[in-house]
């Protein structure tokens, strides 16, 4: 005799216990520390902070540990924590032109004021497994690496970087009026920057909300969309005007003080692309822009974001919307990996009831098909 399935409560408890055991692994292997993750898996930490949209390296590292290295799960942990945090203040806009630069490259100029600084990049490594890393060994690193910007520059002719590092698009191209200017709303009181985590998404949206969505969006999704624009689905001929990685200071200006105070540093990667020129009867030909900004070090995401941002500006540029990357409803509704993973995975939850309803219908339709006489009478009934 069938007994209704009971014991969900006990099963859940035991599943959680098993999960905790799996996370820890064999006890004879030392447990990972948060500092190890933070310092040695820093690019994972970057991604979790960016897509979790919370800049906190320790919490991101904790989330990675708790999620057994599943970064989307870690991002989810951070998001669920972030949503409970109070908003104490809004910062002033960060100044990336004042960035303490660790890496800065431009693909559009061989050399430029401030120079090309390679920084810590995989770009020119040969992707050969380094078997020496199989064993813990710090021998190779005994030699001090020059982190001095001068030593990381590709050209020796440029002026030293301490004289400033003007942005390629804003400072250098804009002088000649060759590139579309970024316009700010005249009055920020009337046009406050949108926040998708505080107001519901309603289409059509402005660029501020699109950029926020892309910055939080799944790296893989944004990467593929950016890639699709390069392969002809809304091609926009992008050049990387500039990528910069480094720390910027974050400032708030409490109303009672009347001046800004520095409350800490933020590591970010910024990418600005120079895109195909356009012109009209009234406007001379000009380059256009795409913009990408992410927490931590993640050039792949920053470049992809800039490509997609440019594609999404189709409407304002008067371009036909012909490809997925230009379609803000498509992009913004599907970019969030926490929403996506939840909804995709939820189909493993019980659906007995819906399935039962479908089973009944399919059985009934098959019956009708197999016995033509009944079908006739059914149709007759239906016609009544």
């Amino acid at each position: 005799m069938y007994v209704a399935v009971k014991g969900g409560e006990k099963a859940i408890k035991n599943a959680h216990r098993l999960l905790a055991e799996k996370r820890r692994g064999p006890k004879e292997i030392p447990e990972l520390s948060i500092t190890q993750i933070k310092e040695q898996l820093s690019l994972s930490v970057s991604r979790v902070m960016a897509e979790g949209s919370l800049f906190d390296e320790d919490l991101a590292a904790l989330a990675i540990k708790q999620a057994r290295g599943d970064l989307i799960e870690a991002i989810f942990l951070i998001r669920a924590y972030r949503t409970t945090l109070p908003r104490l203040a809004y910062s002033l806009p960060i100044r990336t032109d004042k960035m303490n630069v660790e890496r800065r490259v431009s693909a559009t100029y061989k050399d430029l004021p401030g120079g090309q600084i390679l920084g810590p990049t995989f770009d020119y490594t040969h992707r050969l497994l380094d078997f020496d890393l199989m064993e813990a060994s710090d021998d190779d690193l005994s030699e001090e690496v020059s982190t001095d910007a001068e030593g990381l520059k590709t050209e020796k002719t440029t002026q030293p970087s301490d004289t400033g590092m003007p942005r390629v698009l804003g400072g250098l191209l804009n002088n000649e009026g060759l590139i579309q200017a970024e316009t700010l709303p005249e009055n920020e009181e009337e046009h406050p920057v949108g926040d998708l985590t505080r107001e519901p998404l309603e289409f059509p949206v402005d660029r501020d909300q699109r950029l926020q969505n892309l910055a939080r969006g799944d790296e893989g999704f944004i990467l593929s969309l950016g890639y699709s624009t390069q392969r002809g689905y809304a091609r926009n001929h992008a050049f990387v005007g500039e990528i910069r990685l480094g720390t910027v200071s974050i400032e708030i200006q409490p109303p009672e003080l009347g001046f800004a105070i520095d409350i800490g540093d933020l590591e970010i990667t910024e990418c600005e692309t120079v895109n195909q020129f356009q012109g009209s009867k009234t406007e001379p030909p000009q380059f256009t822009r795409g913009y990408g900004l992410v927490f931590g070090q993640n050039e792949r995401k920053a470049i992809s974001m800039a490509l997609v941002d440019r594609a999404l500006r189709a409407k304002e540029m008067g371009e036909d919307i012909v490809a997925p990357a230009q379609d803000e409803e498509f992009v913004m509704s599907h970019s969030d990996n926490i929403q996506a993973t939840g909804f995709v995975e939820h189909i493993k939850l019980p659906h007995y009831v819906d399935f039962q309803a479908e089973l009944g219908l399919v059985r009934r339709m098959r019956e009708e098909q197999q016995t033509p006489s009944t079908q006739q009478s059914q149709t007759q009934q239906a016609a009544e």
């Binding site: 409970t84 505080r198 939840g342 939820h346 939850l349």
Partner: protein
């Protein structure tokens, strides 16, 4: 983090009061315009999207210490996700829970409406995956909002008509679209169409939360809810040849349980509280009364027996 510190460092019922206020405003608007989808700034919840984050946010917003909560999934209080959500509120809202439909003041549900008639003062909170009934006919939100605004529901009727011409029936068995208060076409969430008649003129307040899609909608008590159909193809609900193998009910929604690999199966009530009460002989008489109210059911039963 131990469980106790986790619970105490969050606000009552998890959400902060400002968020609750924002959701309450959306709920008030939803009640004022029955069936209309109100956008709200849904928060990330500590359970995944698709697990009922919309319903959880609505419940967290309307619940108070004096409430008694019942959570069901697929009609049952003991399915894993129902257990998990119930525990969430036990932990964060310090609340009494129950499995008895009649004892609950707030019932959060996924995919079913309890068999027992709901009463005045009760709130039924639905978890909704896709709130837009027109979504599979038109993927764009900008378009579907326009269609609702213009009351342009022809596309839905064409879809139902095409079903009839192709299959001889309307081939929608769950999430069967309804028209609320003669105005908005609404998705009842993926409840089987068997439950649609229970929504009509219901004494309880029905609230719908879609967390991922960030929409809230509502049916105030005693509102007309009409399942879409045609004069010559009236709406009808599912029926079974068997009775419930445990309680003998002839008019509840049955789940099929596979007994072996030889095709043997049995049917049992999907509503576990209803089934248990009948087995205990404690079913209030009002239930029999309501079930006989569903006149469509009678006609379906007689048709099936032909």
């Amino acid at each position: 983090m131990s469980q106790s510190t986790t619970a105490s460092s969050y606000n009552y019922a998890y959400l902060d009061e400002q968020t609750k206020r924002m959701i309450r405003r959306a709920l008030l608007k939803a009640v004022a315009i029955p069936g209309y989808q109100v956008p709200f700034a849904g928060r990330e919840m500590p359970m995944p999207y698709g697990w009922g984050t919309g319903g959880v946010q609505v419940t967290a917003t309307v619940i108070g210490p004096s409430d008694t909560l019942k959570v069901i999934d697929q009609g049952s209080d003991d399915t894993t996700n129902a257990v998990s959500i119930r525990q969430f509120f036990e932990k964060t809202a310090d609340i009494d829970t129950t499995e008895k439909t009649k004892d609950a003041t707030v019932i959060q549900t996924r995919h079913r409406i309890p068999e027992e008639t709901l009463t005045e003062g009760q709130i039924l909170v639905y978890q909704v995956p896709i709130p837009e009934p027109l979504r599979f006919l038109e993927p764009r939100e900008t378009e579907t909002r326009k269609m609702h605004a213009l009351e342009e529901y022809g596309l839905m009727h064409v879809k139902l008509y095409e079903d009839i011409s192709r299959h001889g029936h309307i081939a929608t068995t769950y999430a069967y679209p309804v028209k609320v208060n003669g105005r908005y076409v609404m998705d009842p969430s993926p409840t089987p169409k068997f439950d649609n008649p229970k929504m009509d003129n219901c004494a309880a307040l029905q609230l719908f939360g879609a967390g991922r899609e960030k929409r809230i909608y509502a049916i105030p008590p005693y509102t007309k809810v009409q399942s879409l159909d045609f004069e010559d193809h009236p709406f009808e609900i599912q029926s079974w040849d068997q009775d419930c193998a445990l309680c003998g009910s002839t008019d509840s929604f049955l789940d099929e349980v596979i007994l072996d690999d030889k095709g043997n199966r049995m049917f049992v009530c999907s509503d576990s509280d209803y089934c248990q009460s009948r087995q205990d002989g404690s079913m209030p008489s009002s239930v029999e009364h309501t079930l006989s109210q569903a006149s469509q059911m009678q006609s379906v039963n007689s048709e099936a027996s032909k």
